[in-house]
C-alpha cells in the first residue's frame, strides 16, 4: 500500500452504498451494527411471560427435533434398464430457451430423469456459455406448482381428446377460415411457422398475429425508414473502439445481450502499454448495466435522443445543423465526437429498443455513414431471421379491431397473456368477449385464460420438442429433458393436432431440419444443439451484411420527437420481464439491477424530480426498507387519460423529469407469488394500465401528483453492509484505475501509488516456496501457521478472482447460485428485515470525491460479494461448536449439522456474507412435492436455525476431484467451474487452484490489479478482486 491507513483516517468515504449513507449515516449504520434494526416490529405485543414461554417451547422443540429416526428406505430399480440410465449421474442436453423473441442455445442438466439446471451453450453465439438470470430461473417455471395442469372448458375439466374434437368441429364450420385468427408471441419456431402455413393452406383466410410487450417494433420501423426493410443490427462490439450508447443496454436487454456482454468484456482490459481498451459513452435516461460499464455516463431525456444523434452526425460532418439538446453535457458529446472521428469506422452507436423509430433510423444511418457497417466492422445489418417478422403493436391493433367488429369467430392464443400485457386502451379483454370461440394455450390460469372458453395447459420448453431462430441466424433445436409433468401440449403439438397432422413434435422438428439440411446428422445435431450458420464469436462467416442499403440521407429529414412535460418509460422488468416470470419466486426476490428493489416495482425518479414532486428523498428515514419504520410516498401518475397510483423510488443518475416504471407487476391471476397481494407480500403495480397502443413504451405529458398514501418497499441495498464506521476501510473495498495509470504501474489509481504493483506482498519472493505463495500480503499473524498450511503442496488450494472491470451487475450469478445451491426464497417481509438468503450479492456504490457526492449523476459501481474463504477466517474462532472450520484445500467449511445458530460467525464476518435461515425458508420445497424435484441433489437442503454461505460450489470440486483420482491425474485448470462463473455473461469470475503458476487463477493473483477486500484485517481472503478500469477520455472527467 502506498499510504498507511493512519493517513486516511478521518477522510470521508469515496464510495456510498446510497444517498442515505451520505445524508443520513446513522440510519444506515443501524443496519451495519444492529442485529435487529426493526426489533420493535418483531416484539410488538410480546411481554416477559411470552418470552419465557417461547424460550421453554424452543428448548423443548429443539430437544425433540434432535431425535429423528429414519424409516427404512426402499430401493426401486428399473425392470428393464434403459441404456445409459445411471442412478444419480448428471447428464447434459443441448436445448433451446427464448429471450425477447429469439432463441437461446442452452444446455440443461438432468439427474435421475428430472431437469435441475440450465446453463448457456458455449458452442453457440447466442449465449457463449453464459446465461442471464431469467433463463436460468426457467427451471423454476417448469416446476411452478401453480401451473395449469389439465385442459379446461368453461371452467370445468375436459380431456385433450374432447377439446381437440370440439375445436376441429368448430374449424370445419369455418369455411375458408376468414374468421380464424392465431395470436402468438414472437413467432420464432420454424416448425411452428411451417405448421401455421400448412393450416393456412386449409383455411386461406386465416390470419396469424404476434404480440409480446418486449417487441422490436421500434427497431423494425427504424430499419424500415433507413433501409426499407426489417434489418436487425448485429453488433460486433469486439471490433468497436468507441461505443456510444443512446439509452441502450446491450449487456442486459435484448436477444443478443449475452453475446454482447462477452464481446464488450473482451475489450475492457487494456494491454500492458495501456492500449486496446474500448471507450464507452453512455447517454442514458436511467442508469442501467451498460451505464455501469461505461467510461462516461451522461443523462439525457428519451425525447432528446434523436437530436443527440443528429448533433453527433452534424459535428462529424454528415450534414445537418442540429445542436446538442439542452441539458445534455455538450462537452461529453464533443468528446465522443472527437473519439468517433479519430476512430472512424471503428466506432458505433447503439440505441435502446424503447426509443422511437426515428432514433433507430438515425443511428443506423449514422453508423453507416461512419463506415462502421459490414463484416468485420462494429455492426452488421442482416435480414431478420424470424419466420414472420411483423409489427407487434400494429398486429395487436388490427386483431382487436377485427375482434370488436365481430370478424373473428375462432381465436387461438398460443402462449402469452394479452389481456394483461396489451396496452390498456386497446381493451383487449372486452374485444375478446366478442369472439365466439376463444382457445388459450398457456402455462398458467392467467388473466387471459380466465376470459377464454378453452384453457389448455402448455408444456414448458424443457418438456417438449421445439426449435427457434437465434438472433445470429442459426436454428436452435429444443429437445425435452423430461416427459410433460402434467397433461400438457406444446404449441407445435397443439397446432399439429388441430391440423389433423398425426406426426409427433419430434418428427415435425426433425422434418424441418431435414428440409434445410437433407444430409444432416440428426444425432450430432442434437449433441450440438443448433444448425445452419454457425456464428461463433469472432468467427463471422456465411452471412450477408447489407451495407450500402442504408439511406444515410434520411439522417436530417426524420420527424423530430415532440415532447412536453414529464416523460415516462415503461420497460420490461429487469427480473420478471413482461410478467412471464411473475410467479417465479427466485426472480421476484432477485434484487433489480441498480435499484436493488425486490418483490415490487416503483416509479423511478431522479432526486431533483422527487424534490419537485414533494416526495421524500430516501435519506428522509423513509426508504431504507426497515418495515413499519418508514414508507415510500405514493403518487398518482396520469397520462393519456389513464392513471395509476404507485410508490416513488429515487434512483440517482436518472434524467430529471423522466419517470421509469417496469411492467410485469400488479397481476390479478398469476399464482401464489405473482398475484398482487398489496404491501405485505408485494406484487407491485400494473404499468400496462398506463400504456397505450400509440405509445406503448415511451410517453410524454405525464402528470404526477402526490397522494399522501404510503407504501413499504423491500430494498436490499443496505443489508449485509460492511462496517461503515471504519471509514478508512470502505475506501479499500472498491479500487479503480485507468489504462494510463495501469501502464504507469498504478493499478489502484493515482493516490495509491504503485506500492502493490507486481501482485505479491513483500513477504515472499519468487524463490520463497512457503505458503505465502498463495496467501497474499505479508503474514503478520502472531499465531502459528494454520493447520491447513501443513501440506499445501499436497492439496489443491482453491481461489476465486472477480474482475470488477468486467462485472456489469446483471445478477446472473445470483440466480445461478440460487439454482445450484438450493437457496430458499424468504418473501417480502423477511427481505425487509434483511433476511434474504442469496449467497452472492451484488453491491452497488455511488462514487463521490471524498467530500461530496454528485447527486444528479454519480458514477455507479457494482461489486459482487460472496464468502471470501479467508485463510484466517474471523468466523471460525468464534463458533462455540466448531461448525465452521477450515479445510485443507483452503475452503471455509460450514457444517450444517453442527450449527446451533448462535450467529456469532455472521457477527464476526467483516464481509457480511453469511446467511441465516430464520424460519425454515426451505419448507416450501419440503411441502410442495413438485418443488422437491427442483432441488439440486448434490447439495444439502438446509433447515431452519442454520447458518449457510458460499461453498465455492464444493459439490463441483468434489465431483472433479473424484473424477481426477479415478483417472490417476490431478484436476485440470478450468475443470472446476463454480455456478456463478459458468453463468457470468461477461466472464468476470475466475476460479481454480492457485498452487500452479500456469493456472488462470494464479495469473489473476499475480495481476497488478489484484487486491483483497479489507486486506488490512489480515484475513487473507481466497476471493480477490481485480480493480476496475475506467477508460475516460484524457480531456474529460469520468
Amino acid at each position: 500500500m502506498g499510504k498507511s491507513n493512519e493517513e486516511k483516517t478521518g477522510a470521508s468515504p469515496k464510495f456510498y452504498k446510497g444517498l442515505e449513507q451520505y445524508e443520513a449515516r446513522e440510519l444506515v449504520e443501524s443496519w451495519a451494527e444492529d442485529e435487529f434494526p426493526d426489533r420493535k416490529s418483531l416484539a410488538s405485543g410480546v411481554d416477559r411471560r411470552d418470552v419465557l414461554k417461547m424460550i421453554g417451547g424452543a428448548a423443548l422443540t429443539a430437544a425433540l427435533t434432535g431425535c429423528r429416526f429414519q424409516a427404512p428406505r426402499k430401493i426401486v430399480p428399473f425392470v428393464q434398464q434403459p441404456e445409459g440410465a445411471v442412478a444419480g449421474a448428471r447428464k447434459h442436453y443441448a436445448t433451446c430457451a427464448f429471450k425477447d423473441g429469439f432463441a437461446l442455445a442452452v444446455v440443461a442438466d438432468q439427474v435421475d430423469g428430472r431437469p435441475v439446471r440450465i446453463d448457456g451453450n458455449p458452442l453457440h453465439a447466442s449465449t457463449l456459455g453464459g446465461l442471464d438470470s431469467q433463463t436460468m430461473a426457467e427451471i423454476l417455471n417448469l416446476y411452478d406448482p401453480d401451473r395449469l395442469q389439465s385442459p379446461r372448458h368453461l371452467n370445468s375439466p375436459i380431456s385433450w381428446t374432447d377439446s381437440i374434437l370440439k375445436i376441429e368441429e368448430a374449424l370445419s364450420q369455418a369455411g375458408n377460415g376468414a374468421g380464424i385468427a392465431v395470436l402468438s408471441e414472437t413467432l420464432n419456431s420454424p416448425t411452428l411457422a411451417r405448421l401455421g402455413a400448412e393450416m393456412k393452406k386449409k383455411y386461406p383466410g386465416m390470419r396469424w398475429f404476434q404480440y409480446e410487450p418486449a417487441h422490436r417494433d421500434n427497431q423494425r420501423e427504424g430499419s424500415m425508414l433507413a433501409t426499407g426493410s426489417d434489418q436487425i443490427s448485429v453488433f460486433n462490439f469486439s471490433e468497436a473502439d468507441v461505443i456510444v450508447s443512446i439509452d441502450a443496454d446491450p449487456v442486459m436487454r435484448g436477444p443478443a445481450s449475452l453475446n454482447y456482454a462477452r464481446q464488450i468484456a473482451s475489450r475492457r482490459i487494456p494491454d500492458a502499454s495501456g492500449n486496446g481498451m474500448s471507450r464507452i459513452y453512455a447517454f442514458e435516461s436511467h442508469p442501467n448495466a451498460f451505464g455501469v460499464t461505461a467510461d462516461h455516463r451522461r443523462r439525457i431525456k428519451p425525447s432528446q435522443t434523436l437530436a443527440l444523434v443528429q448533433a453527433i452526425a452534424s459535428q462529424l460532418g454528415f450534414g445537418g445543423s442540429a445542436t446538442v439538446p439542452q441539458g445534455v453535457d455538450a462537452k461529453a458529446v464533443e468528446t465522443a465526437v472527437k473519439d468517433l472521428r479519430a476512430n472512424m469506422g471503428r466506432g458505433v452507436l447503439v440505441a435502446g429498443a424503447h426509443l422511437p423509430p426515428q432514433v433507430h433510423a438515425a443511428v443506423m444511418a449514422l453508423n453507416s455513414a461512419m463506415g462502421s457497417v459490414g463484416i468485420g466492422k462494429p455492426v452488421e445489418y442482416r435480414a431478420n431471421p424470424n419466420p414472420m417478422p411483423t409489427n407487434h403493436a400494429r398486429d395487436l391493433d388490427s386483431l382487436v379491431t377485427s375482434m370488436t367488429s365481430g370478424q373473428i369467430s375462432i381465436l387461438f392464443i398460443l402462449g402469452g397473456n394479452p389481456v394483461y400485457k396489451a396496452p390498456a386502451d386497446l381493451k383487449f379483454g372486452e374485444a375478446l368477449g366478442k369472439v365466439p370461440l376463444k382457445v388459450h394455450l398457456a402455462m398458467h390460469d392467467d388473466e387471459t385464460g380466465y376470459l377464454c372458453d378453452y384453457q389448455l395447459p402448455m408444456s414448458h420448453f424443457l418438456e417438449a420438442w421445439g426449435d427457434g431462430k437465434s438472433y445470429f441466424g442459426s436454428t436452435v433445436i429444443g429437445q425435452p429433458l423430461v416427459d410433460p409433468l402434467y397433461d400438457t401440449k406444446s404449441a407445435i403439438e397443439f397446432l399439429a393436432a388441430i391440423n389433423g397432422n398425426p406426426a409427433d413434435a419430434r418428427s415435425l422438428v426433425r422434418e424441418t431440419y431435414t428440409m434445410s439440411s437433407p444430409n444432416g446428422n440428426w444425432k450430432s445435431l442434437l449433441a450440438k444443439g443448433f444448425y445452419e450458420p454457425i456464428s461463433q464469436l469472432f468467427e463471422l462467416s456465411s452471412r450477408t451484411a447489407v451495407e450500402g442499403a442504408v439511406n444515410t440521407s434520411i439522417l436530417n429529414s426524420l420527424t423530430p420527437i415532440s415532447a412536453q412535460g414529464m416523460e415516462m418509460l415503461i420497460l420490461p422488468d429487469p427480473t420478471i420481464h413482461d410478467g412471464r416470470h411473475s410467479n417465479n419466486m427466485w426472480l421476484q426476490e432477485t434484487p433489480k439491477v441498480i435499484t436493488n428493489l425486490t418483490w415490487d416495482n416503483a416509479l423511478l425518479v431522479s432526486l431533483a424530480t422527487a424534490e419537485k414532486l414533494g416526495v421524500k428523498a430516501p435519506y428522509d428515514k423513509r426508504l431504507l426498507g426497515v418495515p413499519y419504520y418508514g414508507k415510500a410516498d405514493m403518487v398518482t401518475v396520469t397520462v393519456n387519460g389513464a392513471s395509476l397510483e404507485v410508490p416513488v423510488w429515487v434512483n440517482l443518475g436518472q434524467a430529471d423529469d423522466v419517470l421509469v416504471l417496469h411492467m410485469g407487476y400488479g397481476r390479478a391471476r398469476a399464482g401464489d407469488f405473482g398475484t398482487k397481494k398489496g404491501e405485505k407480500a408485494g406484487g407491485g403495480f400494473n404499468a400496462n394500465l398506463l400504456r397505450t397502443a400509440a405509445n406503448p413504451t415511451w410517453m410524454s405529458g405525464v402528470e404526477v401528483k402526490k397522494t399522501g398514501n404510503e407504501y413499504v418497499l423491500a430494498n436490499v441495498q443496505h443489508h449485509n453492509t460492511i462496517d461503515y464506521k471504519k471509514e478508512d476501510r470502505d475506501r479499500e473495498i472498491l479500487k479503480e484505475t485507468t489504462p494510463a495509470l495501469l501502464a504507469a504501474g498504478k493499478p489502484f489509481g493515482e493516490e495509491h501509488g504503485g506500492g502493490h504493483g507486481g501482485g505479491h506482498g513483500e513477504g515472499h519472493g519468487a524463490e520463497d516456496p512457503g505458503f505465502n505463495e498463495f496467501g497474499k500480503g505479508k503474514d503478520i499473524s502472531m499465531y502459528p501457521g494454520l493447520d491447513f498450511e501443513k501440506n499445501p503442496e499436497k492439496n489443491y488450494q482453491w481461489a476465486m478472482t472477480i474482475d470488477l472491470s468486467l462485472c456489469t451487475g446483471c445478477n446472473a450469478c445470483v440466480t445461478a447460485c440460487q439454482a445450484e445451491n438450493n437457496i430458499p426464497v424468504v418473501g417480502k417481509p423477511a427481505v425487509q428485515r434483511g433476511r434474504e438468503m442469496h449467497w452472492i450479492r451484488v453491491d452497488r456504490y455511488y462514487k463521490g470525491d471524498g467530500h461530496h457526492l454528485d447527486m444528479d449523476n454519480p458514477p455507479i459501481y457494482v461489486q459482487p460479494v460472496t464468502c471470501m474463504h479467508c485463510e484466517q477466517a474471523p468466523c471460525e474462532p468464534v463458533c462455540p461448536v466448531a461448525a465452521t472450520v477450515h479445510s485443507h484445500e483452503g475452503l471455509n467449511q460450514m457444517v450444517y449439522n453442527r450449527c446451533v445458530g448462535t450467529r456469532y460467525c455472521s457477527n464476526n464476518c467483516p464481509y457480511k456474507v453469511r446467511r441465516y435461515n430464520f424460519f425454515h425458508f426451505s419448507q416450501r420445497a419440503d411441502n410442495v412435492p413438485v418443488l422437491k424435484m427442483l432441488q439440486n441433489p448434490d447439495v444439502t437442503v438446509r433447515y431452519r436455525g442454520v447458518m449457510e454461505k458460499c461453498t465455492y460450489c464444493v459439490q463441483r470440486i468434489n465431483h472433479a476431484r473424484v473424477e481426477a483420482k479415478r483417472e490417476d491425474r490431478e484436476i485440470r485448470d478450468g475443470e472446476v467451474k463454480t455456478a456463478c462463473q459458468v453463468a457470468c455473461p461477461s466472464g468476470a469470475i475466475v476460479f481454480g487452484d492457485i498452487r500452479k503458476k500456469e493456472n488462470v487463477v494464479y495469473g489473476t493473483r499475480e495481476d497488478p490489479r489484484n487486491y483483497m477486500m479489507l486486506e488490512e484485517l489480515n484475513t487473507r481472503p481466497r476471493t480477490s478482486y481485480l480493480s476496475r478500469i475506467r477508460n475516460p477520455h484524457p480531456e474529460m472527467e469520468a
Binding site: 427404512p72 426401486v76 430399480p77 428393464q80 445411471v86 479445510s887 449439522n897 468434489n958 473424484v962 483420482k965
Partner: protein
C-alpha cells in the same frame, strides 16, 4: 422429640451422594453404548426382502462377480442395483418355477419394479461415492461386512460417522496389497509393476475370485474379507502400509475434511 435420622442415615446419605455423582456417568455411558449398539445402528440385523436373495449363494457358492449386478460400482456414485431383467437373465433359464422367485417373474411380466428394502444407507447429508473407494482399493467387505456369508443381507457395519472417520483418518488400517503378499514371485521392488502386478481395483475382485474358488486365504486377506481391519502389524509393516498409501495417492490430510462427505 426423638431423632428423625438413625445412624444408618449417614451411610445412606453418602451412598446416595456417590450414586448421584455416578448417575450422569452411568447414563452417559449407557446412552452412548445404546446408540452405538445394533439396537440403534441396525447393524447385523437381516432385513426382510421381497425376494429372499442370498449373497452367500450367488457370491460364494456360484462365484458371480459383484459387478455383474452392481455394475456401476467402479464408475459411479451409486453401485447400482440390478434391474429385474438382470435377475431374469439367469432365472429365465434356471429355477424358472421356484416360488421364491415369484416376485421377480411378476415384476418382469407386469413391468412393476421390485421394491427392495435398503440395507446400507447413509443420511441425505452424506455424499458417498463408491467409485473412488473401489479405485483406491477399499474392499467391498471393509464397509459391507462379509457379504459372501450373508444368506439374507444385513448391514455389516454400523455406518456411523465415527466408523467412517476411523478409516478416513487412518486408511492404512484397511489397506490391502495382494501384490506384496505374494511378494516372493513378484520381487519386492516398489514401483516396478510387473505383468502380474494388480491395480488396487483388481485386487478387490481378485479376493472374491479366491473366495469363490475356495482357495485358502492368508490371515490378512481373511481379516479384510471379514470386514475387519488388517491384523495388528509390527511397526515396520505399518511403514509398509504408509508407503502403500503413498503409492495409491491417498491424501490423508484432506480425507477427513468436513466437505469431503458433507456439502
Amino acid at each position: 422429640m426423638g431423632q428423625i435420622f438413625k445412624p444408618s442415615a449417614n451411610s445412606i446419605a453418602s451412598i446416595s451422594l456417590l450414586a448421584a455423582a455416578g448417575l450422569p456417568v452411568v447414563l452417559l455411558v449407557t446412552g452412548s453404548l445404546i446408540t452405538r449398539s445394533p439396537a440403534n445402528t441396525k447393524a447385523f440385523i437381516p432385513l426382510d426382502q421381497p425376494v429372499p436373495f442370498s449373497h452367500k449363494h450367488h457370491v460364494k457358492e456360484l462365484g458371480i462377480d459383484c459387478r455383474y449386478c452392481h455394475n456401476t460400482v467402479e464408475e459411479q456414485v451409486n453401485a447400482g442395483v440390478p434391474a429385474t431383467e438382470v435377475c431374469m437373465s439367469c432365472h429365465s433359464q434356471i429355477w424358472t418355477n421356484s416360488p421364491m422367485l415369484e416376485p421377480v417373474r411378476n415384476s418382469y411380466e407386469t413391468g412393476k419394479p421390485i421394491r427392495w428394502t435398503k440395507v446400507n444407507a447413509v443420511p441425505d447429508f452424506v455424499y458417498f461415492d463408491h467409485s473412488i473407494h473401489i479405485k483406491r482399493g477399499i474392499n467391498c467387505n471393509t464397509c459391507h461386512g462379509a457379504v459372501q456369508e450373508m444368506a439374507i443381507t444385513w448391514k455389516g457395519k454400523p455406518f456411523s460417522m465415527a466408523w467412517c472417520l476411523d478409516c478416513h483418518k487412518n486408511p492404512e488400517k484397511y489397506m490391502l496389497d495382494l501384490n506384496a503378499m505374494g511378494s516372493d514371485s513378484h520381487g519386492d521392488e516398489h514401483g516396478e509393476h510387473g505383468a502380474n502386478m494388480m491395480t488396487p481395483r483388481e485386487q478387490i475382485f481378485e479376493l472374491y475370485k479366491k473366495i469363490a474358488a475356495g482357495e485358502k486365504l492368508t490371515e490378512v486377506e481373511h481379516r479384510i474379507a471379514e470386514g475387519h481391519t488388517q491384523h495388528i502389524l509390527p511397526s515396520d509393516d505399518i511403514h509398509k502400509q504408509y508407503k502403500l498409501m503413498e503409492e495409491r495417492g491417498i491424501n490423508v490430510t484432506q480425507l477427513a475434511d468436513c466437505w469431503v462427505c458433507h456439502r
